[in-house]
């Protein structure tokens, strides 16, 4: 096996190399998940409790008024929880990925492997949390006796995929910037908080007719993802325009993130 080490000239994704190191995805994800819940009493329950708390708070304080104003066809808690679960993939996926390079600086400085593995594994960790929380969601569906549109189950993977692409795009961009500008670390929490309110997670997108609000809600790649998820409940119709726009935006975000990350990763070891 011959190899060459030389200055990077042309852009490539490095898929072949990622495949060679595929086992590392497993190990990094496994480590992140393991370490996250080590020495906690509730362990994996935390993956469920976080979205559940938000849902309860919003149901108690805003649930009725949101339902009334937007003519929700399903009980508000089901609506909010479905949003929060998908939002969990995006928010923790993005922020884990964004911090991952700096958090693993000691490894990056000492050993080589395709750098993309670290942020991607960080996202996979968030995805595992999502799957852990699914049973609780199913229980909620039973409690509120929501009727399901089972053919829409096929949309669920697409929805998760769009969410992952967007989370990865933002995460990679922020991760690369974070290595160079530590300011990013402080931007992330408030970015996540802000994004939650321009995403139809806890309220449907028809809550405001303000054109600025509509512009952000439509452009938001999670709008389409949420639309696809909620197609699961009978009484919902999918706005295909939103879905296609979301797909396009998420792909664009992903490409931007990957290209910027790949272009700058050579100097991570010097700056991290």
């Amino acid at each position: 096996m011959e190899f060459e080490i030389k200055p990077r000239s042309k852009f490539s994704l490095g898929l072949k190399e990622l495949w060679e190191y595929r086992e590392l995805f497993y190990f990094f994800t496994w480590r992140d998940v393991k370490v996250k819940y080590k020495q906690t009493v509730l362990g994996f329950l935390w993956a469920i409790l976080q979205p559940l708390f938000m849902t309860v708070i919003f149901t108690v304080f805003l649930g009725e008024s949101i339902s009334a104003k937007t003519h929700l066809p399903i009980p508000y808690p089901v609506f909010a929880l479905s949003g929060m679960l998908l939002w969990g993939i995006f928010s923790s996926g993005m922020s884990n990925a964004a911090n991952s390079m700096v958090n693993n600086a000691n490894i990056i400085k000492k050993i080589y492997f395709p750098r993309l593995i670290i942020p991607i594994s960080a996202l996979l960790g968030a995805l595992i949390d999502f799957f852990v929380a699914i049973p609780v969601f199913i229980i909620t569906l039973f409690i509120y006796k929501v009727e399901l549109n089972f053919s829409a189950l096929l949309f669920l993977p697409v929805s998760v995929f769009i969410t992952c692409l967007s989370a990865m795009g933002c995460g990679l961009l922020l991760a690369a910037l974070n290595v160079k500008y530590r300011d990013v670390r402080y931007i992330i929490p408030f970015l996540v908080q802000g994004l939650l309110f321009i995403t139809p997670v806890l309220f449907p997108s028809n809550i405001s007719q303000n054109p600025i609000a509509q512009f952000f809600l439509q452009l938001n790649p999670l709008s389409g993802a949420l639309e696809l998820t909620r197609a699961l409940f009978t009484g919902y119709t999918i706005n295909m325009e939103t879905v296609f726009l979301s797909m396009a935006v998420s792909v664009l975000l992903f490409i931007t993130g990957v290209v910027y990350f790949r272009k700058t990763e050579g100097y991570f070891a010097d700056l991290a």
């Binding site: 190899f3 080490i5 086992e23 480590r31 370490v35 990056i108 400085k109 050993i111 500008y181």
Partner: protein, 383 residues
């Protein structure tokens, strides 16, 4: 090439503020330039040089951590770099989990780790605690586990940075043994160290770097010789007395050595210069050599051999040690000057000097530093 600017950490504010400044002072610094050498399969090559010579940069480039600005390296085989042991160890994970994590970061396949798992645990000697979180391990145990994983790497090319500079003497010996086994197994090793005896023991050929360029390549013996020659005697030791006592009518104004970095086993000459404000009738001077820990090693005095010099015209006291039998390390000199049989001037740690490696014993070997300061010639007979 590394661009170095004034601030190691950039922040957005700095970048924005520099947009408005016309002159952005940026200086190019080449950590390595025109470095070229060949390593054949099965060779064990040492890389030596002072701090800042570019050794670590070379290793970083060889192990693909940092891409080169220009130039090319061609190789054949799987490459593994050990710039430190235990990369990726996490205190919350158990010993077993860390072996897998660390192994896979180093580039081992899961199947390889499984195959060698028992041997790794055995080498590290941590069977009992293998499912205990790493944070409960002693630092020695962590180190042994880390080295054990690295020792079972099966890559054809190994790049090793001074991983041997850690651990106790016994463990270092074990590591050296393992390293020489590995080098005999036909694999290619690039080894960076400040420890000349380790280099001499392991590497047949070596590369000597200086200021980012290759100074010399060739047989390890010659290269080490060149390194030692160049690094010794290049700057003067400074006479800087501390805790000085005495009336000060006659004082030592300077102390010079024949070389700053002396080689063990070499001739050492100490010249004490005196300044006199009053006439003197007799003079003698003691001095002591302490190691960097302040442990007393050698005490030398005229009183041991001759009578104090009855002379009024002395301005210099010169001591000569024909064969300096000190272990490698940094030493300090403390002196005491007697004039007319009373203490006239004394000071602690007035001068520091380095004792460098040499072939005092064959193979550039030296006793472990914590075992001995002073060396002795010897012969052995087995009967």
């Amino acid at each position: 090439m590394i661009h170095h600017e004034q601030q190691p950490y950039l922040s957005l504010r700095d970048s924005i503020s520099t947009i408005f400044k016309r002159k952005h002072t940026k200086e190019d610094f080449w950590a390595l330039k025109d470095v070229s050498f060949d390593v054949m399969p099965g060779d064990t090559v040492g890389i030596i040089g002072k701090n800042g010579a570019g050794k670590s940069t070379l290793l970083k480039i060889l192990s693909k951590i940092t891409p080169p600005t220009s130039g090319k390296i061609t190789g054949r085989g799987r490459i593994a770099s050990l710039l430190e042991v235990g990369t990726g160890f996490h205190p919350e994970l158990s010993g077993r989990e860390n072996v897998f994590m660390n192994g896979s970061i180093l580039g081992m396949r899961r199947s390889e780790i499984l195959k060698n798992f028992d041997a790794i645990i055995d080498f590290a000697g941590v069977e009992k605690f293998i499912d205990t979180p790493l944070k409960h391990y002693s630092s020695g145990m962590q180190l042994r586990l880390a080295f054990a994983v690295a020792a079972f790497l099966e890559n054809e090319i190994l790049i090793i940075d001074e991983v041997l500079a850690v651990g106790d003497a016994e463990f270092q010996k074990k590591c050296m043994g393992k390293m020489s086994d590995v080098s005999k197994s036909g694999r290619t090793i690039l080894f960076v160290s400040h420890n000349m005896s380790a280099i001499a023991q392991l590497c047949a050929s070596s590369v000597f770097l200086i200021n980012g360029t290759v100074r010399q390549t060739g047989k390890t013996e010659d290269v080490i010789g060149a390194y030692i020659n160049l690094s010794s005697g290049n700057n003067e030791s400074i006479f800087r007395p501390q805790n000085r006592l005495g009336p000060g009518e006659v004082t030592v104004t300077n102390l010079t050595l024949n070389k700053k970095e002396l080689l063990s086993g070499e001739k050492m000459t100490l010249t004490f210069s005196l300044s006199k404000k009053v006439p003197i009738s007799s003079v003698y001077l003691d001095f002591r050599i302490d190691n960097h820990m302040g442990e007393k090693c050698v005490w030398i005095s005229d009183k041991l051999t001759i009578k104090p010099k009855e002379d009024t015209s002395v301005d210099k006291v010169i001591y000569e040690i024909p064969r300096l039998n000190l272990n490698i390390g940094i030493y300090h000199i403390t002196y005491c000057l007697f004039i007319n049989n009373r203490v006239e001037d004394m000071a602690d740690n007035c001068l520091a000097f380095d004792v460098m490696e040499n072939n005092f014993y064959p193979n550039w070997k030296f006793p472990p530093k914590e075992q001995a300061n002073v060396l002795a010639d010897f012969t052995t007979h087995y009967e």
